[in-house]
Each structure stands twice: as C-alpha cells, then as structure tokens.
C-alpha cells in the first residue's frame, strides 16, 4: 500500500505533460485524479494503522552491500503529515488549474507541484534516514523550480536561488548530521530510532550531530537566522506559496525536529537552541509582518511566526508541548492554506494584493469571503474553531513554566490576531476602497471549492475535536516515549489557559485598534537586515570565485605548467623529506666506458636541442637523444624496448623535420628574467626527479609480481620472451586499450592533417 501512495504522485507529475488538451473537463479530472488517488490510498492505509495501533513498515533492498534499503513506514506523525500533504495537495492542484486558467505553463506548474508533493510525501514516509535525505533534497530542488516559476522575472530567479542556496546548504549539514547520528546509534531506521532507547546525550559526537541536524531543520523551516528566504519566496505563484510555504515544505523542518526529538531531545542544548531560535523568529516575523501591506507578505510573516511557535514548543520538550505542537500544526495547515488561496483569488479578481487599497470585497466575492473569514477566525483562535484548540494547548503546555515563555506566546498570539484580521477580514469588510486595477468579480468553482472546504473543516473539527482526536493521539504516542493516548476535547473548564486565551483576545483587539495598517502611498520597507547580509555574503563568495578563477585560469600554458610543476615538486619533496635519509650511491666505481661516453653525448645533444638557434640542429639533436635512449635499453637487457624505440624515434624525427619546415623561425619571445626563473625551476625539477629515482631503486614493495609472471611465462603463456608474453597475454587488455588509443589518435590526426594541408595551399 505504501509505495502506491508515492507511485500515484509520480504518475501525477507525468500526466500533465502528456495531456494535449488540458482545458476540458476530462483533462482537469485526469490532472487532479492522481493526488486524490494517493490521498484515498493514504486514508485506507491510515484506517488500517489506526485500528491496529501498529505502524506499517515496508522495506525493499536497494544496495544491500551498503546496507541501503528503500524503507517506508507509516506511523501516526507520518499519517498526519501525509494526509495534510496529499489532502491539501489535491485542493491546491485544483486551485492551480483555476488560478492559471489554461495559460501556457499551467501543466508545468501542475507537474512541478506533483513532483514536490512526491518529494514531501517521501520525506514523511521514509524510514531509512538516507532515503529521507534524498527526498529532503528533492523538495529543495522542486521548490527552487516552483519559486522561480515566473523565470522571466529577475526577482523570482533571485528568490528561487536564495531559497535553494539556504535550504541546500542546510540539506548538506543534515546529511552530515544524519551520518553522525548513525555513528552514534548504529541504525539508519527511523522506526528503530523512535522506539529504541539510545543514550546519545553524553556521546562526544552529540553536539556536532545536534548542530548539523538543527541547521538542516532551521534552514528548511526558515528559523532565525535563516528566516529571510521565506518572505522572498512569495515571488512564486500563489498556489505554490499556499502549498509549499505555509502548509507543507516549511513544515518539513518541524517534522524533522519532531522525529529527532525522541533521540536528540531531552538535553538543555536541544531545548535552549530551539527555544531561542523559535522565540527570536516569532518576534522578527511579527514586527516584519506588521510593516507589510502585501497580503502574501503578511501571510508569510505569520507563517514564520507559527513555525517559530512550533519550534519553541518542541524546544520546551515536555509531553504536553509536543501534543500542543501537533494540534497547532494541524490547525495552521488548514487555515493558512485557505488564507493563501483566498489571497490569490483576491489578487486575481482585483489585480492587487495591497491591503491599503482593498475593501468591500464581500459584495463581489460571496464565496471567497466566508472562506477567508472562517480561516481568519481560526487563526485568531476564536472559540469553536480549531485554532482555538491549538492555542489552548499551547498555553496548557507552558503553564507552570517561566513567565517569559508565556509572555512570548501571549504577545505572539495577540499580534497574530492583528495580522489575521488584516489578511482575512479587512479586504472584505473595510468600508473604504482604493483604486483597484481591475473590477472585482468572484472566482470560479475551481478556486473557491478548496478554500471553502478547508475553512469549513477548521470549524467542524473545532466543534467536534473527536473527529481528529484519534489521529493526533496516535501521532503523539508514536513519537513521545511513554505517552498515554489522549482524547482531545473542547472544554477543559475555567483554568489558566482559558484565562490566558481571554487575555490574548483582549490584547489582540486592543492592538487591532492601535495598529492601523499603513496608509496608502506610504513606503513599505521591503528588505530586511538578514536579507542584506545574505546579499553581501553571496557577492563576496562570487568575488572570491572570480578572483581565484582569474588568478588560476590565465589562459597561458606557462602558468599552468608552473602551477603543476611547483605543486608536484612540493608534494614529492614533502614525501622525500618525510621518508628521510639520503639515497645510496651504489656502483659508482664500475663506470662502463661505453655508457659513459654515450651519456655525455646525449647530454650535449640535449643541450643543443634546447638551446640551438637552428631548428634543424634541434631535430638532429633530438634524434641523437632518442637513439641514445634506445642504446641504454639495449645495454640493460631490454631488446624489445630498444627495437621499438629505434622505430618510434625514426618516425618522430621524420615527422618533426616535416613539421619544422612549415613553421616560422625562432623568435625571442620570453624576457631574460623569465628565462632565468624557468632555468631555476627546470633544474629543481630535474634534481627532484633524480633524487626520487635514486631513492626508489632501493625500495622493495612486498613480494615481486615480476617473479610470478616470469615463472608463468613459458608454461602458461607458451612464450619464451617474458616481456612479450606480459604484453599480449597477461596484460592483453591493456595492450588492446593502447591500440584503441593509437587508433583514436590516428583518426584525430587524419581529420586535422586534412585541414592543415588544404589550408596551407
């Protein structure tokens, strides 16, 4: 059952590309169907899991030698997240079809949305940590494509790249963190990590692992100091923002924190980093949100704040706070996706998202208005809505804790009320109305069905929390060790959380009166400090890259050769010095007169080859050197080499003489200083190589392979000439490769010679 959930989504990403006519009823149905099928599949599997109380596990071998398996599992948390992803995903795809309205690119958007849905579902279903990481990266890549969907716009491209850079770096950190986690616990399986008892807190790798995993989670969930990419990601089309940047992708980080909490949690490092990051994110986000006039930016700010609250709750790290995080997460997904979709509808209808201009839309948009209103009420946490329940549990989990945490959450929730009113109430009910670029009208069913459904769901499960109670309770018991099943209920009697809720309402309504949205025409501050820092760092990296490229890649052979020589000389010298000792000078006494004369002649010839002004002299000198080398081979027991060398040398001299005729005379090109430097470098290189050769002659690396080959030559290879047998028998494949190289070189020469000769004429 589990793989089908993913396979349907993969099919979904291909279907839109294959469809030719997409605007008719059938076409749209076919595009929506895979997501729906996946959702239904998950519901069936979920029913099984809930009734049995056991999580489903599905495993297939992938690379057994690395212990890599494609492991999927469905526990309570995965089910909760999976239902949100596929359920909201179905509605988003429907909405996207209406939003794009058959424009070109509609199918590209749907296909990418499916790809993302696949990746995200993969994250929550993965059991193997490496598989989880692969899906994690896939969400980064697909979100890059989605944010940069309007790729003609420079701002969209920049935002997409920014999101990719930030989340991609976090992904790398996460990979390292997961590997460290495996080193500590010895398992790759999440199902083991969630149930087993691993004492990792005192492990020397713990801090490193924690930092790396948190980097992954914080970048993905846009926690301080990586919060800046999320508001910029609003450059994406609204369906994308509604899906990725509110309901799902940014929750991947929270999901990661939730599944890591049983293993890595329970320490003060864990609590403090999460609470600080969460708390700072809440405050930054809300201050930013209050200064925005763009509907989507406001919603992005509240999303940031909610992610901050979730991180904060996981950081508190009590049974109750995890439960509260789950309830809050579900509530947020429902109302935030709705608000984004209604914002998109407003944008479509009026041509603007500026709340300073919008008003009076309740008359013209009778279907969008109730959806937005219900979602805004849920976000404010008004009683009977699911958001109220979420807020109650949040307060419940901090009661008895420090007053500071209560204050943070209280002010946070009150400010969220203000922003909820701005996003979901003001555009529809404000009396005044500005100059709208377009005449408002209601959207079609494709764009209103989803928001209405989600908003109503928020009200229904708010009134009857028993509907989702078992799901939340199962998710809760699955990730919190020793947790008792919990029954969600609406009324808990008059207690401190209720009083705190009332205080929040009072504070929220006061703030609404005090903080009016910015007046029309007033400039809104768009960029943030963190964004500027990112920009500078980004430019600095580019500058360093440009500098290093320019200084290394000069386009001149000489500088490349120098770099290679200096580094190889340095490495050899380093190794020689580490090896220590001087080479032994054996056999100096027995100078062979023939060889001595030969070597002196070769040395003179070499000098002529290098220094001679006449090119013909150089050619002849090269010939002397080559034939000299072949004599060395002949003298020192290598007749085959000598013969080959003589043949090759003859060909080389002939060819070179033919070439030299066509080239101009020598010119003086280098400066005296360059010649001096090069002479020094060349002498050093020659000296280092000589020392290396002397040192290496005294070495014996283990049993010699030559002896074995020599013994086998006649009986096994049926040849008396051992060198030949090695070439054509023992190492025949090498020789075959050599023949291939020669053939390729010959082909190249043939092609080039053809051009050289015709050009010459």
């Amino acid at each position: 059952m589990l793989p089908f959930i993913l396979i349907f989504l993969l099919i979904g990403s291909i279907v839109p590309v294959l469809l030719k006519d997409k605007s008719n009823f059938m076409g749209r149905g076919l595009v929506i169907l895979p997501a729906l099928a996946s959702f239904v599949c998950l519901c069936i599997a979920g029913g099984e899991v809930l009734s049995s109380g056991q999580s489903l596990i599905w495993t297939r071998e992938w690379v057994p030698s690395f212990g890599l398996t494609i492991g999927l599992h469905l526990n309570g948390l995965a089910l909760l997240m999976g239902l949100l992803i596929t359920g909201i995903g179905t509605l988003i795809v429907t909405y996207a079809l209406g939003y794009m309205g058959g424009k070109s690119g509609t199918m590209r958007l749907c296909s990418l949305l499916y790809l993302f849905m696949f990746a995200m579902t993969g994250i929550v279903l993965s059991n193997h940590l490496i598989i989880l990481f692969i899906f994690w990266e896939l969400t980064s890549v697909s979100s890059y494509l989605l944010i940069g969907f309007d790729h003609e716009k420079a701002s969209a491209r920049r935002s997409a790249l920014q999101a990719l850079v930030v989340t991609g770096l976090g992904g790398l950190a996460l990979l390292a963190g997961l590997i460290l986690l495996n080193q500590m616990t010895g398992t790759w399986m999440l199902s083991d990590l969630l149930t087993g008892d691993y004492q990792v807190a005192g492990h020397p790798l713990y801090t490193g692992c924690l930092i790396l995993v948190l980097l992954g989670a914080f970048t993905k969930s846009a926690q301080f100091p990586f919060h800046f990419w999320l508001p910029n990601a609003m450059a994406a089309p609204t369906p994308v923002s509604a899906y990725l940047h509110s309901a799902t992708m940014v929750k991947a980080g929270v999901f990661l924190l939730l599944v890591m909490q049983p293993v890595l949690g329970g320490t003060s490092e864990w609590s403090h980093s999460l609470m600080i990051a969460g708390g700072v994110t809440i405050s930054i986000a809300l201050v930013y949100g209050l200064r925005q006039a763009d509907l989507k930016k406001i919603l992005a700010a509240t999303t940031l704040a909610v992610l901050g609250i979730l991180t904060f709750l996981i950081g508190i790290d009590t049974k109750y706070s995890i439960l509260a995080a789950l309830v809050f997460l579900l509530g947020h997904a429902l109302y935030k996706a709705t608000l984004f979709m209604t914002a998109g509808a407003v944008d479509h209808s009026t041509g603007t998202r500026d709340i300073r201009l919008l008003g009076q839309l309740k008359k013209t948009m009778p279907l969008t208005t109730p959806a937005a209103l219900l979602a805004a009420f849920s976000m404010m946490g008004l009683p009977l809505f699911f958001g109220f329940l979420g807020k109650e549990y949040v307060y419940k989990s901090v009661v008895g804790g420090s007053w500071l945490t209560i204050a943070v959450l209280l002010i946070g929730n009150a400010t969220m009320m203000v922003l909820a009113a701005r996003a979901g109430v003001i555009p529809y009910f404000r009396k005044s109305i500005g100059d709208l670029p377009k005449k408002p009208h209601e959207m079609g069913l494709l764009m209103t069905a989803g928001p209405l459904l989600l908003a109503t769901l928020g009200l229904v499960i708010g009134c009857f929390p028993g509907l989702v109670g078992p799901l939340i309770s199962f998710a809760y018991t699955g990730i919190v060790a020793g947790a008792e099943p919990y029954t969600l209920s609406l009324w808990h009697g008059v207690n401190l959380p209720l009083i705190l809720s009332l205080v929040t309402f009072a504070l929220g309504f006061t703030l609404m009166k005090v903080l009016r949205p910015a007046a029309a025409g007033k400039k809104v501050n768009e960029s943030t400090f963190a964004d500027t820092v990112y920009e500078h760092v980004f430019k600095f990296v580019l500058m360093v890259a440009r500098w290093s490229t320019q200084s290394l890649q000069t386009g001149r052979l000489r500088s490349y050769v120098i770099i290679i020589l200096v580094s190889s000389c340095g490495l050899i010298l380093w190794k020689l010095v580490r090896f220590g000792g001087w080479p032994t000078f054996e056999g100096i006494g027995q100078l062979n007169p023939f060889i001595t004369i030969l070597l002196v002649a070769m040395t003179i010839a070499t000098l002529f080859a290098v220094l001679s002004k006449s090119r013909l002299t150089a050619v002849v000198s090269l010939g002397v050197v080559g034939y000299g080398v072949s004599m060395i081979y002949a003298k020192y027991s290598a007749p085959d080499l000598a013969i080959t060398q003589v043949l090759v040398e003859t060909l080389t001299v002939v060819l070179f003489a033919w070439v030299v005729r066509r080239l101009p005379r020598y010119r003086k090109l280098s400066t005296g200083f360059e010649r001096f430097m090069d002479t020094g470098l060349a002498l050093i290189m020659g000296g280092v190589m000589t020392v290396l050769m002397l040192k290496s002659q005294g070495l014996l690396f283990g049993p010699k392979i030559s002896d074995k080959l020599t013994q086998m030559s006649y009986p096994e290879g049926h040849g008396a000439n051992v060198v030949n047998v090695i070439l054509v028998d023992f190492r025949a494949l090498d020789t075959f490769g050599e023949v291939c190289v020669l053939a390729i070189a010959a082909l190249g020469v043939w092609a080039l010679v053809d051009k050289v000769t015709t050009k010459g004429k």
Binding site: R556, L557, R558, V561, E586, G587, L591, I595, T596, L599, T603, A609, V610, A618, I632, Y636, S637, A638, P639, T644, V648, T652, F656, V659, L663, P664, Y666, R667, D678, T679, L681, A682, M685, G686, G687, T690, M693, L694, Q697, K704, I705, S706, T710, Q711, Y714, A720, N721, V722, V723, I726, L727, R731, D734, V741, A745, A746, G748, V749, L752, V756
Partner: protein, 117 residues
C-alpha cells in the same frame, strides 16, 4: 651505473620542463618529446637495472636463468613508448592546425579559436 642513468633522466626532465615553459610552439614540441623520454627512463630504472640479462625463458626447460632483469617495468615502458608516440603525433598535428588558423607560433596567443582580424 644506475646513478649516471638517473642523472641523465634528471637532465632530460630539466630540459623538457624548460622547453615546456617557452612560448615558442616548436620548443613546446621538443619539450614534450624530451619529457616522454625522461619518464620512460624513470619507469625503466624503477626495478633496478642489469646489463646483458634479458628475460628469456629457456625453450627446453621453460625456466629463466637467475639474475635476469625485471620484465614488468619493461612491459610498462614498451606501452609508454607507443602511447607517447601517439600522443606526440596528435599534439604536433593539433599545434599545426592551431598555427594554420591563428598564424602565430606564440603559445600565449593560443587562447582563442578564431583567427585575429
């Protein structure tokens, strides 16, 4: 005796490197040829060298007399000579082609593929 041969290889290395660093095209070719000779000698002397002891098996007994030369470096060098020749021919042709197009023998100007106006 190997001392003198290693010094010879060192001289060939130095000469090859010096030529490789020149801007003239002909010198570049000379440098490549010298370097490949030097590299062959380096591999050849690796196993220690012996005069007049080629590795031939006795056709009667199938054994090789003791004190023979090391066959493996020889096999490697044999391959290297041939490959080096192929490489050299290809390089020369490539340089000739570049010369025909760019009308220059200065290697520093070999950083674009179009003839100068």
């Amino acid at each position: 005796m190997s001392l003198l041969i290693t010094i010879m290889a060192g001289i060939l290395f130095a000469a090859g490197v010096y030529c490789l660093l020149r801007r003239n095209m002909t010198k570049l070719i000379i440098g490549i040829i010298l370097l490949s000779q030097a590299a062959n000698l380096l591999v050849f002397t690796m196993g220690g060298i012996r005069a007049h002891q080629p590795v031939f098996a006795d056709s009667e007994t199938g054994t090789v007399a003791a004190g023979h030369a090391d066959p493996v470096p020889q096999a490697l060098v044999l391959t290297a000579i041939v490959i080096g020749f192929g490489l050299m021919v290809f390089t020369i042709t490539l340089l000739m082609r570049a010369h025909a197009v760019l009308k220059s023998d200065d290697v520093n100007e070999f950083n674009h593929t179009d003839a100068l106006p």
